[in-house]
Symmetry: C2
Subunit: 348 residues, 2 copies
Amino acid sequence: MTLSGELKGTVVITGKQGIEELHGTSFYGRPRGETLELSLAESAYLIYMKKITVKCEGEELDFERFFIRASNIVKNFELFYIVYKDLRGRGYYVQPSDIGFRVYPRGGRPGRGPAEFLVFVTSERIPLMLSELREHLDNSDNKKKRLILAIVDEESDITHYEAKKLNPSGTSVLKPGKLNSVVTLLEDRCMVWEPEESNMLHKEGFFGKPMDEGHLQLSLVESSYLLNRGIMEIEKRDHEKLDFTEFSEIATRIESDFMIKYKVYEKLRTSGLVPKTGFKFGTHFRVYKSFDSISHSDYLVHAISHDHVFSLQQVSRAVRLANSVKKEMIYAVVSDSIDFIVIGRVRL
Amino acid sequence: MTLSGELKGTVVITGKQGIEELHGTSFYGRPRGETLELSLAESAYLIYMKKITVKCEGEELDFERFFIRASNIVKNFELFYIVYKDLRGRGYYVQPSDIGFRVYPRGGRPGRGPAEFLVFVTSERIPLMLSELREHLDNSDNKKKRLILAIVDEESDITHYEAKKLNPSGTSVLKPGKLNSVVTLLEDRCMVWEPEESNMLHKEGFFGKPMDEGHLQLSLVESSYLLNRGIMEIEKRDHEKLDFTEFSEIATRIESDFMIKYKVYEKLRTSGLVPKTGFKFGTHFRVYKSFDSISHSDYLVHAISHDHVFSLQQVSRAVRLANSVKKEMIYAVVSDSIDFIVIGRVRL
């Protein structure tokens, strides 16, 4: 026998029987005194499962009419429904939260241990502000939950990503000596002309790329890092010396995001990591935990500013590519400090 | 014994001996009467190989001084040098061209058969205008050569891509009948409520995604395509009917690039292909050649407008991702017609 409920505002209310039959056995809804309160997603799902019927002002709403009504009440209701149905369908107990859902671990349920995940529901088309993501991260940290982004694509497939804060560190200790020769800034890279110093820089810190035997090319970030550390001096082709500020200005004209890239590069280096260009992977850096094992890099790191807005399509591509080459995709947020957020695909 | 040459303008000139020793055996340079003309990249390479010395106004230029001089004459000279050295180092015969180099096939050489490749040299940081790429494509088509993009990253690694025109086509013949029920536009997707028609659309053309048994969600492009073909009618939640123009306007508010996406979707469908969302891959579409073999898609297709400017970092990420899942990365250029350009990584 199906239970009957009444749509009131943004929830559906059933009588006492709902508490026993829907909540007691399967943890749908939240008991409120003698009644059970169901969310719109729960209600649509229970109508579809033929477990309840819902009336509004005396008129019964079938699935189609309830769904259209709900989607008029809650923006993007269909996304919430799709994600809810998927989670329930795979045996998870799910309760609503302000960003989407609280989801209990396998074997867990409301009243027996805490929820494990906070699931943030969104569409691939909705840009995600970094500030919003950080708020969700802080919130789930406070609640000791894992933050999951459930992203619904235009054909209603769901992809789950987990976002976490991270403090990456490595074991590389850097000890290149000061260069005696002078390095030249060419168009958008620098050249070390002196063979022994070229070799030293490459061997002692995995800096640059040997152009041939004896000549080492350094990238702009590498060059400015070594300049800033006092390890080398840089001059232009007309032999005019450049200090760190002048060099940074030139580099910023070449790549507009140079300064945030540089700050992340410096932070990674001082954390014992070895960053090299991530061009082949479409990110700023690929990063090695040490340069004893320089054959496989561990992270792909992309520098973003604190007002960054993610395109979820780009995040999707970046994470998928990183995982396909067995690396973690990390966003480095540059403000007064550098914070790292790793985003990875998870299968719930 | 090393030959001597003289830097004159943008070339180095050697005497008759150069024709025999450099051109006759190894196809460096171009004979001009009694002299041999060498490009700046050839000359820098030959200085490095200790095969020539170069003077300018009586003063001998060592490798460092010649290199700095050359990079003052030719913008991004270092890129040309890096690519030239790499190609020669791997046994290819190379001649200069206006966009970079003409490269002879393995076993080929100047004077014995034509060059196989036109190599366009650029840096990862230089945005590539679609119009420029198309010019190079037309040019290499006219010359019956393969167009290679040699992209030098910030650490001087070279990645080679081949760009080609393409006319993708498939074998899918579409025959869904007209729907009797009306489809509802929700927030950013449409819903077919009638179970039999839901199944028919999904089975007869691989449209949409079943939300559950009996309800089918259609994406915006799918919906507008079926609307435009007269296969179904769409109404808003308040039951107001939408024609193609009205629907397109709403869809464009939801995704600003809707119209170019739609045009490419339509072109792919009428070419016998089955496009579905490419969200998981960070592109507009993944495309199947038929829906008999719907398990593996063949192409990733991204719609771009005729005034598009490529970020090579993004191209790199897209191509790498496509290849890692055994698909071809195709850019669909939307102007009066739709042209397809496939970009793939090649190992020369």
